[in-house]
Symmetry: C2
Subunit: 481 residues, 2 copies
């Protein structure tokens, strides 16, 4: 029998990712993680599809192998020399420490890895960083939580719905909610039970009342609560920590699963920056409010973070945090559909966050961004105060990118319905070069919408056009008074 | 009323994509497209979920607006100056015409667009290029076909299944098939009816016989046929054009919808390169065989192309082509889940294919790649001929990256079942540093697998290790003879 010698490769030579291992993240968590309680189990709560999810034999086999030492005739992945790109270089405007370059063979998360098939839950290095980030911001109070990447939060929402809901099931949502959720819910045949909102966001009492009054004649009792707690889309409202505690109590009482969709969380215009021109990123971080994840002793929260509002939407990247059982299912969903997030997107975030900024630099960026959003918010709200007629009502958002304007349509000269008025006014505004969000896009109340509302974002338009935009809006509404 | 002046922006200034228009691609098609027949309609074939898909009001509104002229208070997308990256530069090893740089404001598909939310069907420029590519390679014989991007073919398969199948439905597949399809099918509760294969791939007679014998007692008659026609995964078999015609006839007879998953199509080792050292990319293109899409008069084919095997799997990018009705649904599926493919991935492909290589350069690349795969295939098959014992049978693949080895287990000394043998041999091989694909990963036959098969890929390992790998495999099998 001929001797075949030792076999060993470097990643560049094989074109193989060195990352077939499952996502565990234990080293990125707090040292005391093991004295915390474990999450409850949700086996009885999964949908038919959720129950059918299972590890794939191929991927399961791959996980146990040390790839660096193998001759890979198993997986149909091209060797890295078969891929055209040799280098990817990124330049950043702010806080740049020079060009960030990514080539093949330079590190364990190199260009060969970025261009190859990767772990469906995300590249280990990036997931480790994000796990540390989640630990330092949210300190989840139970032990077996995990973080993995998503292909953006809209995809994460869809997955959560598929995991827990069969067609005909009910979920709980704010009466105005994210249009992407509405589309997914309608497509998946899921009914939405609208919960009232007050100035503090989702109303805990109405949530409790509707669940307590639920009878079996209405179908299976709702299990999933979808909420946008900070700078809510579309109303801009932010739940206080006290409100979150009340809602979490209702969730414990009625055994709810909370999908905490929180893409605006870091865009805090907050009190902390009032009159403190020397505020530091460290203080900014200290003042970040508690999230559902940080209150979650039972593991009943799936927190969705997104790169879209704080890095770039085109990356199609986010991260989700929840109990290991749900995150495991989440990765199995990716295994059978999208696989990993884009490698170039991952490596861009990795180079910037992990290799260049670090946690402190990332906080600096988020703090800077918050100050910019605060400036834009202040410009828009000053214009609102200056131009909008008295039939318009709004409150100053404390977080995020949306200002929500309610027009008292009973005071208008037109007798048309709010929906017809909205259509007419928006068409006229578009004719004048102004695009605003329509309240009806977000309405899920059981009755037809009896309010005239507009969602204005101060994120997209040039700062110097914000006043002009509000003036156009004001003039248009004035025509109806 | 104060005058508010003209409003106009450049994309860099607003951070807004200039691409809210729907994908139509008409200009990228053959001039005679309008004299071709239109596709049939599939309304009666959609699943409950497929029927529920609908355009979203928000996205519908956006489509009709000229964004460059608007003040955008409508969509929650950050202005481009809120995004950290300023430049992305790509270097390519082969056929490089210099560095490809992407900055904000440079062209209609610039960095601001790549980092922003984009059309769910893909960036217009890239989709136009791919539509031209599809027209020039496949000449679809009906008029209302469309091409759009996918997040890779595994995601496209999942979408096709969700679009046409409810839980409990049956689909038709080759008896050994892509493991990603098996996982998706199992999760979605879809039954797989295995069709026999012969040396020419999927057997048209068996397909016809099984459909003709289908009785209502078995459930709804299968509608979707999933097939990998070129260099099939895992068997490496390739259907001839004649075979495709026969199968298409069966599809017409029984009203089937064909999902043509063809990621290896361009990796032709083919006869055309036998002895012709001066073959050109032009001749390579001329010799590309007809596909299902090119035979599809009825619009009953969804062709899946993938960047994974010909550019890079980490891009998570592919393109799908089918009738406008199905592509419309496909984009609506993206609207409620993944949204667009990664902007950085899209811009990398755009810069390379559309702005640098062009169609001719892309063909050169594919031709070069084919020659490399041919060389690797020849190395592996020569080693097979040299080392493998006579209990092993294989045929030379004409396309793709897989060599399929069938071991006549009745001739082995062990009386274990093929599955037990496979497990034992593969574990031993892994212990010796060799990873091979297991036949059982791909088996969907109705009875338990009674063959011992291995899928070997010559894509991933370094060319110089292929012989060594086959020697290790041969030695291991020899221990059982």
């Amino acid at each position: 029998m001929p001797h075949h010698g030792n076999i060993s490769f470097t990643p560049g030579a094989t074109g193989l990712s060195l990352e077939p291992s499952p996502v565990t993240n234990e080293i990125s968590k707090d040292k005391n993680v093991h004295v915390k309680p474990t999450a409850r189990k949700f086996d009885h709560r999964f949908s038919a599809e959720g129950l059918s999810l299972a590890p794939t034999p191929l991927k399961d086999t791959v996980k146990t192998l040390d790839f660096a030492k193998m001759i890979p005739l198993g997986n149909g992945r091209p060797a890295s020399e078969m891929l055209p790109w040799e280098e990817l270089t990124m330049r950043v405007a702010k806080r740049d420490t020079g060009l960030m370059s990514c080539v093949k063979g330079e590190s364990s998360f190199d260009l060969a890895v970025a261009l190859d098939y990767g772990c469906s839950g995300g590249s280990t290095k990036l997931v480790d960083f994000l796990t540390e980030h989640v630990e330092s911001i949210h300190h989840p109070p139970y032990s077996d939580w995990q973080t993995c990447l998503s292909i953006g939060s809209t995809s994460a929402i869809e997955r959560a719905l598929r995991l827990f809901c069969n067609r005909g099931d009910w979920i709980l949502v704010e009466e105005y909610t994210y249009s992407g959720l509405i589309t997914a819910g309608k497509t998946l045949g899921i009914n939405m039970l609208a919960i009232e909102m007050d100035d503090g966001g989702l109303n805990a009492n109405d949530l409790d009342a509707k669940l307590s009054a639920w009878g079996p004649e209405k179908g299976k009792k709702p299990f999933v609560l979808y909420t946008v707690p900070s700078g809510q889309n579309p109303t801009g409202k932010t739940q206080s920590v006290q409100r979150k505690r009340l809602i979490y109590e209702v969730a414990e009482k009625h055994d709810l699963y909370i999908v905490e969709d929180d893409p605006y969380y870091f865009l805090q215009h907050g009190n902390f920056s009032k009159g403190t021109s020397n505020l530091t990123a460290k203080e900014y971080q200290t003042h970040l409010p508690a999230t559902y994840l940080s209150l979650d002793l039972s593991g009943r929260v799936l927190r969705l973070d997104s790169a879209s509002k704080i890095l770039a939407p085109g990356l199609r990247l986010g991260w989700v945090t929840g109990c290991a059982q749900v995150i495991g299912k989440f990765i199995e969903q990716a295994d059978m559909s999208t696989l990993a997030a884009s490698g170039p997107s991952q490596v861009m975030v990795h180079k910037l966050l992990c290799e260049t900024w670090g946690h402190g630099g990332f906080m600096n960026w988020l703090f800077d961004l918050s100050l910019q959003y605060r400036k834009r918010r202040d410009t828009m709200s000053a214009a609102c105060a200056k131009y909008l007629p008295s039939v318009c009502h709004w409150t100053l958002p404390a977080v995020g990118m949306f200002l929500w304007i309610k027009v008292d349509h009973t005071q208008l000269s037109s007798r048309s319905s709010p929906l017809a008025l909205e259509e007419k006014i928006c068409e006229e505004l578009e004719g004048k070069g102004l695009m605003v969000g329509r309240g009806s896009w977000f309405w899920v109340g059981s009755e037809s919408m009896n309010e005239l509302c507009f969602r204005l974002t101060f994120a997209a338009a040039p700062q110097e056009r914000l006043e002009q935009a509000i003036r156009i809006l004001a003039e248009q509404i004035l025509l109806y008074t």
